[in-house]
Amino acid sequence: MDSLANKRLAKTNYTEFLNKYGMLIILVLLFVALSLKIDGFASVRNVLSILEQVSMFGIIAIGVTFAIVTGGIDLSGGSIVALASVVGASIVTGSEGYGMTIFAFGAALFVGSVCGLINGSITAYGRIPPFIATLGMMTMARGMAQLFSDGRPVDASSDAFTSIGDGTVFGIPGLVIIYVLVAVVCHVMMSRMTFGRHVFAIGGNVKTARICGVNVEITLVKVYVLAGALAGLAGAMLASRAYAGNPTFGNMWELDAIAAAVIGGTSLAGGVGSVGMCIVGALIIGVMNKGLNMMGVDPYWQQIIKGMIIISAVLLDAQKRKKA
């Protein structure tokens, strides 16, 4: 009887472990497999480079995770990146010094937040599905980016500004540092702050949340503002990395971001998700991209393989849980 209970406990722990870390295992396996195949894949330099490449859409994915946990979605991230990048670049171009750089990042965040505010207000107060609200914003923000930049790339040549995308601190690229900072802050927000709690409650059951006195509307607005601000930040980061803002930036990033969140285990039905797993999801995509490129896989095949890996990862994860 006792041993039975123990076995059961062990099984529960095992299941829980797979549930929680299944995707992490898949990430590790993927990384190991690629390291065996490709020389120098398992180097610090390469890992940092993956992190750097992931950082921008990874940050968007964190914002999207919040939206998905409430049971919503945010499709406007990629377009906000474009808008924020041209706004940020136009502020900084030709200037020197960190003042303008900070101003440019601030402006990018601001622009993103405003887009998010619109998304959130329409969703929360207008009661229209976030899919549509953010789809509309996706089109609008892209249009505004083009309008603002007259459809052309905007030069962002300012040493201070580009040093953020180029520079390193103790060997760690600036963008990676920003990513880590954002992740930590958002993780705390999601798991340790009232706001995060309410985000989960809304996704779990919005009626119950309301009855418990959660201000559903304001929380939703905050979520979309956060998602927008993070996309804006990603836009500024990209501009600093690419030495320019461009209205074509961020094309389809929203889908990559959503994929990262869902691969990480965020449920599109809402109520389930975490920043940590969203990072794992983003890394799976990043490692895969890097590996396929370094192996020199034919780009047509790359897309096919990418699609298959995404599906297999989620499938494997689902299967594992079912069995356990």
Binding site: R192, H198, F200, A201, G204, I211, G213, V214, G271
Partner: protein
């Protein structure tokens, strides 16, 4: 006219939904420190009235609400909570991925600086649960908590608000007898603190046990308020239904024929083991047991919803293979599930669509579904079961809980089943409707159908069943015949407790409740 004696006064409150006048000039006064029962048939408007108080619905113009002598117009639940109102809603659905403590403190989380104070919240939750005698680990995820515990938690949560008035909307539908007793204790404890309670229930026993006053609404209209001590059960039923009715249902007996369904050694390890019984034509077969005894699992297995691992099922003496519900439906087995929301309703579909789903064949004319025919049939059912709905095309979400249940029963009646399984068929159903459903069951029996009823209501089982199988912890304890299974015999078996109370049958700690 403010009455310093009353905590809440509702004057001429009305509420109109598209197509329905849910409340019509209702007046209700709740005295300070009293337990006030609110009764009425399904769809009478009880929940609607409470939702208005909680800021979930806006009442029509013209009415007035006074809380503690002050005009009270809550727009959102927070307004109500701040004013001193707390509610246990009728259908609780907590956030499954949050812990017990998180659900307990939802919307009023404790903080230390910017961060939530998990420790303090856990401690505080544990303290409150402990005080109220609810054994629960505060860090368990809500999805792993049973419905009964969740219900108790909701009550504990409401109590823990610093409220002057607590509304409980059918708090006992998911509880067993022992937990009901616990609820009584909690309610009385709360009353001692000078807090008023509005207690909505369809169970007369509870109302007489607990309340000081009882108000009745019927069809959205206020009928009256009485001191509970001044009124008899019969009078109360009369007020509710508007006609004379017996509390106990006296069923007529019908001829019992040959064996129709036979279950042999049905097992699903971990859930139930070695269940064997048979049901004859015209027989009503009851299954009794505690919540969690595995009764639902057994009938789900018979229906093929969660297939059994071993055992055989025979219909008309022939072995049948049932792996999925479709197999059961083909054998004309019907199944009213116990959880309306989870496995019963298709919330955003019409009453008609909800009814006809299991078998669309009869409505197909020249290859296409005829909506007219379907509506026509649904209309008949609506009349037959007295389902209260504006039209049969109404979205089922807008029906009151009891009426939703009737639609689900209608669904399986339409299948013209040989075997009908009903799992808690009268959960949340008013006295009048219950009697109608009982009549229907007997009518089906007369037609030679076999009927299986799983129920936690002792009176229901006793008055309906020809035989009762008792289960505990997934095992079959025994089958009791009607002759022995009168209330008295079972009470005797259970060593002479009173109704309602807990009895013990056999050596197991099986308890059967008997609340009317």
């Amino acid at each position: 006219m403010t009455n310093s004696d009353s905590i809440l006064e509702m004057i001429n409150v009305s509420k109109t939904f598209p197509g329905v006048k849910a409340l019509d000039q209702v007046n209700l006064t709740i005295r300070k420190g009293s337990i006030h029962a609110l009764m009425g048939e399904n769809g009478a408007g009880k929940s609607t009235l409470m939702k208005i108080l909680y800021g979930l619905y806006t009442p029509d113009e013209g009415g007035e609400i006074l809380f503690d002598g002050q005009p009270f117009t809550p727009k959102v639940p927070i307004d109500a909570i701040r004013t001193g109102l707390a509610m246990v809603p009728q259908e609780i659905s907590p956030s499954g991925n949050l812990s017990v403590a998180a659900n307990f403190f939802l919307g009023r989380e404790l903080r230390k600086g910017f961060l939530m104070d998990h420790q303090a919240m856990n401690k505080e939750t544990a303290k409150v649960l402990d005080e109220l005698g609810i054994p629960m680990k505060v860090e368990t995820l809500m999805q792993d908590v049973s419905v009964a515990k969740a219900q108790l938690l909701a009550i504990a949560t409401a109590v823990s608000y610093d409220a002057k008035l607590i509304i409980m909307d059918e708090p006992t539908t998911a509880l067993t007898e022992s937990e009901v007793q616990q609820l009584y204790k909690i309610v009385r404890k709360v009353q001692e603190r000078g807090i008023s309670i509005i207690y909505i229930s369809h169970k007369l026993g509870e109302v007489f046990e607990l309340s000081d006053e009882v108000s009745v609404i019927r069809d959205g209209e206020y009928i009256g308020t009485k001191q509970t001590s001044d009124i008899t059960k019969e009078e109360l039923i009369n007020m509710m239904v508007g006609r004379e009715m017996d509390e106990m249902f006296e069923r007529e007996r019908v001829e019992i024929g040959e064996t129709l369904l036979e279950v042999n050694n049905l097992s699903l390890p971990g859930k139930f083991e070695d269940i064997s019984f048979d049901v004859k034509k015209g027989e009503v077969f009851g299954i009794a047991g505690l919540v969690g005894a595995g009764r639902s699992e057994v009938v789900e297995a018979i229906f093929g919803y969660k297939a059994a691992q071993s055992g055989d099922i025979y219909l008309h003496g022939k072995r049948v293979e049932i792996y999925k519900p479709m197999d059961a439906i083909k054998q004309r087995i019907g199944f009213v599930t116990e959880d309306r929301k989870l496995t019963g309703l298709m919330l955003n579909m019409s009453v008609t669509d909800n009814m006809i789903m299991p078998e669309l064949g009869p409505y197909i004319q020249s290859g296409l579904i005829s909506d007219e025919l379907a509506s026509h049939v649904a209309e008949d059912m609506k009349k037959q079961l007295r389902i209260k709905t504006p039209t049969v095309d109404t979205i089922i979400d807008n029906l009151s809980g009891g009426n939703q249940q009737k639609v689900l029963i209608a669904r399986w009646l339409l299948l013209e089943p040989e075997v009908l399984i009903l799992d808690e068929p009268t959960k949340g159903i008013d006295v009048g409707a219950k009697a109608e459903i009982y009549k229907l069951i007997v009518e089906l029996a007369r037609l030679g159908k076999a009927i299986i009823i799983v129920s936690s209501e002792m009176l229901e089982l006793l008055s309906l069943s020809d035989r009762i199988m008792v289960m505990a912890e997934g095992r079959e304890i025994g089958i009791v015949d009607r002759e022995q299974a009168t209330q008295e015999v079972i009470l005797e078996m259970a060593a002479g407790g009173e109704v309602p109370s807990e009895q013990t049958i056999d050596t197991s700690d099986l308890r059967i409740e008997g609340v009317a």
